[in-house]
């Protein structure tokens, strides 16, 4: 169980913002922080890791106090058991992939965990390469493996998948889910992608201007529970055009572009950039094998 209650004045591009977060995270849950950039999501992770000092507040992790400003307790980042995957991965350029992982071991610790991680995250062939020679997805996997070497109480991933194309993205989601289960981790993930959130998380916290505005299971937060659909996809509207009394929506779903029609009452409330659920009920799909 992780209890977080933090307050901090942040200076953002839109001026000052008060970060004010109270939440409890169940052990073993995968929780996603969702919200616009600049809403304070990264700051929350950095405060939990001890890299950023809040003005006041407390953080308790599995009964241990990491931070309590009233009692002047503030563990250094070195003493907090967190695994962190940064947005820029922060792999050490002077070390090979294997050395990056070994660096994360404590002195005199057995390196069997490194070998195990190399195996399950499939880094075998990359072991002796330097980070600069890796692709984005490969760097991502190395950063993930390195974050797990210390068997953290919390794994935190700051938009780990945003820079990757959808195929690699899907594979990496699987890696993250696998290690989350295998190591019984409590995971905090920042993501913008609703389909990713729905697929991966137990709980979503929607953050706006430094505050939690909605929280709950993904289907509650994105409220599509009422639908008893046969087909259901989430996507982003790329373009809306009006033809007579119908709206034509161009929607990006994963990497595919789909066109659907919407009637006037639906179309009026939609604009390009909106995230939507597309579902169909009475429909007989034609399935063809293509590969």
């Amino acid at each position: 169980m992780i209890e977080i209650d933090i307050h901090k004045k942040l200076k953002s591009s839109q001026g000052e913002m008060l970060l004010n977060i109270q939440t409890t995270i169940k052990k073993g849950d995968l929780v996603t922080l969702y919200g616009n950039s600049g809403a304070g999501k990264t700051s929350i992770l950095r405060i939990v890791a001890g890299l950023l000092q809040p003005d006041s507040g407390k953080i308790n992790v599995n009964g241990k106090t990491w931070l309590n400003t009233a009692k002047k307790i503030n563990l250094k980042p070195q003493k907090r058991k967190v695994g962190f995957v940064f947005q820029d991965y922060a792999l050490f350029p002077n070390m090979t992939v294997k050395e990056n992982l070994l660096f994360a071991l404590n002195k005199g610790e057995d390196n069997s965990i490194v070998n195990h991680l190399v195996e399950i995250i499939e880094l075998g062939e990359l072991q002796n390469r330097k980070p600069q020679t890796l692709s984005g997805g490969q760097k991502q996997r190395v950063a993930l493996a390195r974050a797990l070497v210390q068997k953290p109480s919390i794994l935190m991933l700051d938009e780990p998948l945003s820079a990757l194309d959808s195929e690699i993205r899907f594979k990496l989601q699987q890696y993250i889910l696998n290690v989350h289960k295998e190591y019984k981790l409590t995971t905090l993930l920042i993501s913008h992608d609703i389909s990713e959130i729905i697929r991966m998380s137990d709980k979503v916290l929607q953050i706006e201007h430094g505050k939690i505005t909605r929280q709950g299971k993904p289907n509650e937060v994105f409220n599509y529970t009422g639908l008893s659909a046969k087909f259901q996809f989430t996507g982003t509207i790329i373009e809306i055009s009006k033809q007579d009394f119908l709206y034509i929506l161009s929607i990006r779903i994963g990497k595919d572009l789909v066109k659907v029609v919407a009637d006037e009452t639906e179309g009026e409330h939609l604009k390009a950039g909106d995230k939507i659920v597309v579902s169909a009920k009475a429909l007989n799909p034609i399935i063809q094998k293509i590969g």
Partner: protein, 223 residues
């Protein structure tokens, strides 16, 4: 044949100065790169002053400070047995001050250019500041270190004004090559002055060329 002693003395001075400067500059540059202290601009100014101050001014104040007729020079002389005026040790201290910015600036820039996420990550992985400095930061600023080393070495070779003020022209102790050139010209021995000058010219050219070749990545491309 010329007297080789001034050249040997020059390289001895440049070599020891560079090693001592490296030891001093890494912690100093680290502090300048990462400290949020309000005093930082003052220290940065002091480090940079030798770049713009006439060497004779530095030499003059060191001369006054080290002079045994003053309290500080007297204390050095009585308690440490150090006579810093017109001696090799005095020259060494003057060189360290004079070449300080040439070592500190590249190292400081090297630290500042590294993404801070590397430091954050090392801390998250449970590593101390010292381990982070030696295992993560220093190995990733090798070219900056090399630039600092070479520039400090070359700049010490090129020193003249400070040496003249504080070291004088004592053969084997303070008569370095740049002074020897001046000395030979004064005594109208142009041939010897030319030999010294040519050697210094060629050496500084090679040393600086080395920096540009290495930092320009020409070596990496060939690999």
């Amino acid at each position: 044949m010329i007297d080789w002693e001034p050249l040997i003395l020059t390289f001895k001075l440049a070599f020891i100065t560079t090693i001592l400067l490296l030891v001093i500059s890494i912690p100093l540059a680290y502090w300048l790169a990462y400290s949020k202290s309000k005093l930082k601009p003052i220290f940065e100014t002091f480090v940079s002053m030798p770049l713009v101050l006439p060497p004779t001014v530095i030499g003059f104040y060191l001369l006054v400070a080290f002079s045994p007729s003053n309290a500080f020079g007297d204390w050095l002389n009585n308690w440490l047995g150090l006579q810093l005026v017109f001696s090799f040790e005095g020259l060494l201290i003057a060189s360290i001050i004079y070449s300080l910015p040439f070592m500190v600036h590249p190292i400081q820039a090297g630290f500042s250019n590294l993404p801070t996420s590397l430091i954050d990550m090392s801390y998250v992985l449970g590593k101390s500041k010292t381990t982070t400095l030696f295992k993560v930061l220093i190995p990733n600023i090798k070219t900056s270190l090399l630039t600092g080393i070479v520039l400090a070495f070359a700049h010490t070779i090129g020193e003249f004004g400070v040496v003249l003020m504080i070291g004088g022209n004592i053969p084997g102790k303070t008569k370095v090559a740049s002074i020897a050139v001046y000395d030979k010209v004064e005594s109208l021995d142009y041939a010897a002055a030319n030999t010294y000058s040519l050697i210094l010219f060629a050496l500084t050219f090679v040393i600086l060329l080395m920096v540009y070749v290495i930092n320009g990545g020409y070596l990496k491309q060939q690999k």
